[in-house]
Assembly symmetry: D2
Homo-oligomer: 337 residues x 4
Amino acid sequence: MIIVMKPNAPKDAVQKVTSLIEEKGLTAHLSEGREVTIIGVVGDKTKLEGDNLILLPYVDKLVPITESYKLSNKKFHPNPSRVTVGNHVIGPDTLTVMAGPCAVETEEQLLTIAREVKKAGAHFVRGGAYKPRTSPYSFQGLEVEGLRYMAEAKKETGLNTICEVIDEKSIEAAVKYVDMIQIGARNMQNFQLLREAGRSGLPVLLKRGLAATIDEWLNAAEYIIAEGNPNVVLCERGIRTYETSTRNTLDLSAVPVIRAKSHLPIIVDPSHATGVRAYVEPLAKAAVACGADGLMIEVHNDPEHALSDGPQSLTFSQFEDVMAHLRPYIQLAERKL
Amino acid sequence: MIIVMKPNAPKDAVQKVTSLIEEKGLTAHLSEGREVTIIGVVGDKTKLEGDNLILLPYVDKLVPITESYKLSNKKFHPNPSRVTVGNHVIGPDTLTVMAGPCAVETEEQLLTIAREVKKAGAHFVRGGAYKPRTSPYSFQGLEVEGLRYMAEAKKETGLNTICEVIDEKSIEAAVKYVDMIQIGARNMQNFQLLREAGRSGLPVLLKRGLAATIDEWLNAAEYIIAEGNPNVVLCERGIRTYETSTRNTLDLSAVPVIRAKSHLPIIVDPSHATGVRAYVEPLAKAAVACGADGLMIEVHNDPEHALSDGPQSLTFSQFEDVMAHLRPYIQLAERKL
Amino acid sequence: MIIVMKPNAPKDAVQKVTSLIEEKGLTAHLSEGREVTIIGVVGDKTKLEGDNLILLPYVDKLVPITESYKLSNKKFHPNPSRVTVGNHVIGPDTLTVMAGPCAVETEEQLLTIAREVKKAGAHFVRGGAYKPRTSPYSFQGLEVEGLRYMAEAKKETGLNTICEVIDEKSIEAAVKYVDMIQIGARNMQNFQLLREAGRSGLPVLLKRGLAATIDEWLNAAEYIIAEGNPNVVLCERGIRTYETSTRNTLDLSAVPVIRAKSHLPIIVDPSHATGVRAYVEPLAKAAVACGADGLMIEVHNDPEHALSDGPQSLTFSQFEDVMAHLRPYIQLAERKL
Amino acid sequence: MIIVMKPNAPKDAVQKVTSLIEEKGLTAHLSEGREVTIIGVVGDKTKLEGDNLILLPYVDKLVPITESYKLSNKKFHPNPSRVTVGNHVIGPDTLTVMAGPCAVETEEQLLTIAREVKKAGAHFVRGGAYKPRTSPYSFQGLEVEGLRYMAEAKKETGLNTICEVIDEKSIEAAVKYVDMIQIGARNMQNFQLLREAGRSGLPVLLKRGLAATIDEWLNAAEYIIAEGNPNVVLCERGIRTYETSTRNTLDLSAVPVIRAKSHLPIIVDPSHATGVRAYVEPLAKAAVACGADGLMIEVHNDPEHALSDGPQSLTFSQFEDVMAHLRPYIQLAERKL
């Protein structure tokens, strides 16, 4: 951490700061500039309580130098991680495709969709059994019943399965039925849930919060990994901005930024990001082109009658087309589907 | 809901939409414009599944007309609500003040703070026993131990008590020890938590999410009220914007906007909004001046050594000053302290 | 436009609105719903003054139905436009590449860069002669001298040239020396400048404003086209969000959104969007993959000593690599370089 | 400036950075931390070209320490500035009120409004003669004719006058007719206009850009002052965020933040910020309560027929009421009206 003093801070004030630093067993390095004095703090900064130094007289600002996340930080784990789910490995060699309905509606619906997305090349069937919805009057999911259908879908198609979890109870149920769990955008900083996901032993897909910075996102991943679970995959799904032509603003820069800051795999969800079916294919291609490790795409047997997120869902034949059009981009990216 | 057709939509396409509306037992009203045809849907729109109509051929856009929240909506409850907590009523007649440390640290600390904030005029002592923190390596709270200190503080000072809850377990514990529970900004769309808060029977302070729209906020309140608990108080605490001079951007317009849209009381937290001690007083005055029903202010016995959020905490004498300076504004607002 | 009345609006209030509409020679269509009455306005809505109807008693909200831009609107010009600059056509068949330094520094510098970017495949050399800078103490550009170097560069290499203009005087100068002018992000709503750019007769590259919605952007294009100049190319260059890992957040969804709403070509500037050299290549690939008509990339002979925007500038060999890596993506997009 | 090296940067890399700093006649202070080495740069940092040091091997990040604005910076001008316009002084002793229509429409309209706002206590009549409008098809202002009416209004009422300028020509005209000029939000980074405003000799009201940070705003003020014109007044008028209940989000924290960073007066415009008439009074009170030096409020003789911004304009009797309700707040703030 660097402490910047106000212009004309008297020697006493600087002395008070350096004493406090040294009391804690840390070292203070002074640079006296033309306008201001800055103090570099060397040592284990967790010994300093939070940001309270800002309250000392004549302290102007504090500048953090090192990130608070370690386990998800590339600086300490330079090589890209691979996350194994069943017989599939999410990571730099593969372009992982997760596809399926926003919400699981019936067993037949899910099985039909699972068969079709498998045929088109997907590795995972996704489907929400617990649906966090803005309004309490919207469809909230089939819960355990939905999870059972997921297990059926796996049994029949051999696809891996992934489901969103929303609390301890849903994690307990998910562990019995699915291969991977998902933490949704609205729960990205539900720290209890992150810890429980960490303890579940299952691989975790961690969606970026609606207004989460990349540093907060990696700190959220840290919560999961700190529980002994290194199998975290990030998912960029759009952030909230002032622009309203799309549901959210897909931040594809997040892909190279995460690559620079973390070893964790990152996939992209163009369906939730845009909320518009016609924008899914161009942004899926863009995601592959900029280095994403995978895609999550909503597919529905009958989007016009979907109970949730119909407008952004692809039909079977649209999904088949998208996958066909993606193939050359996946090849260019030197990944296998 | 209004359905806007694309220019030159053929009669067939319009017919298909109106048929679908009428099949559901709703009525379709056509306006054929110079450029476009619009269709007004009259009846119980919950019979239409989500936004899927957008997928029909030649449909250009859907415009929702009515809000999805009813119980928190002023249209159906024109008079301002009053929320009673112990012997105190939060609502239009009072300027409710909640004050205390970000985190409960020790029993003595909390008791000292409770005594001091009472002396200065506060109605509630606040204090976090469960702390959601961005990094897993930050102090996370004393949990039940902290709640017990809150009960002690109440016993000694007679102040009402309020604590943040973060999951089912913490709600169960809070019910035994405190008078009011708080849902934090990061959990505003943790819908399970909202439901459980609703079922707890305790009055609930619902902080606005970091990137929540006012409509999403009122929908979150709806989750609590829909469980049979009408005792919801909203708390504006700053939203995330591009500006970095303050931790968040305090959206004081939210006060008159909520007044126009809802009957629920709304208080303002200038401490979390700005993250800077010197900005607390001017924004507290502004909050009272624009009609807020109360304030939540962080006060600490020793901010320089606080385990959380020291930079924004007031000392006892600063809090006393702020309260003294606020009194004439509270009088002008025709409220009693 | 649709007018939504408040619940329980009396017949009188509805009558007052419809009378006012009919007075103006427009037609009002009523839909009386269970909760609210809505009124569709049919006819030339420019006859209604702005949004003042909201002030009439019991009017709840106004919902615009048609866009205010016409000349840049795909609804009235369904086929993609082509913008010819010298012997080059910007549009759906080509992937146009504009490359060069942020600021023109010396004649030799610009000539060297022009030769190198031409060799690597660029169609335009870009270079700022007038530099809008946040601080008045930063380098502000060589002005006319810089434009002369651009003309030299064209003469020697045959490349087309493009320069930012910032006021009437710079447009007058630019007309003499360069092939295309650019309106920068900060001037996107400098309406005088837009009109003058329209009257200049030169093709115009219109960068998206830092916080401009897509509709505002197309309205800005409308200002130029309304002056009789249809040769407008849009340039997405990142928008301002809360995320600070990149200088701006590149909104690649803007590419398919513009494709859906407008006939104008759109190119992407990954250099200004990210501000980080390492992110230019992945986002350039993504831009091509999602359908952009071109790229603007900063290239500098000696980025470490650049007078402006060094951190995001590519060296010659880096640019050559990027172009080589882009070629297969351009082929996939069925465009020629 | 502080330079943070990457972990494990070799001595060579650190040496290269310090040499470069010393070559420029600056001093480098090293702090070798447990994880990283940081280098403080002492001396005139304008000798370093921009941010290019980031391109040196093993440099991780650059942290600016001092602000780039000097003339508008409180650090170098600790006392609050007073800006004199005619017989009125904008500054800490007064609560300056500027009121009038968004756009000047007719002479009679402006004179009527001027008389009425004067009666209610305003010091300035405002009115747009040049209107920057999103769509080229909206009313664009009366231009010089409108300025003449302003001069008439001054002659008759003795009020000071203020008008927005949009280019060199409008500044030349404004100098002849009005007392103060305004730079609008969309032109806050139109640096040519800022310079010309600086040279005009007239006091300047500088509105904050829609997405401008406070530092960018103070840098914009710097452009004006650097031309020898210290008479700059800032105006907060709402920033662009994701929230759509109000036209913009009024950032009242900007008032105490500006007070902490600058000596310039700051006024608040609740009319443009909210776009809703009913929100003007509560936010005007809040602005006074948090320390603003003045208010700009839109008032219209007939808002229902206003050519621009009717929905946010107050009628005469509403403005009279607002002023009456503001008086006790102005007294509390120890200012005179």
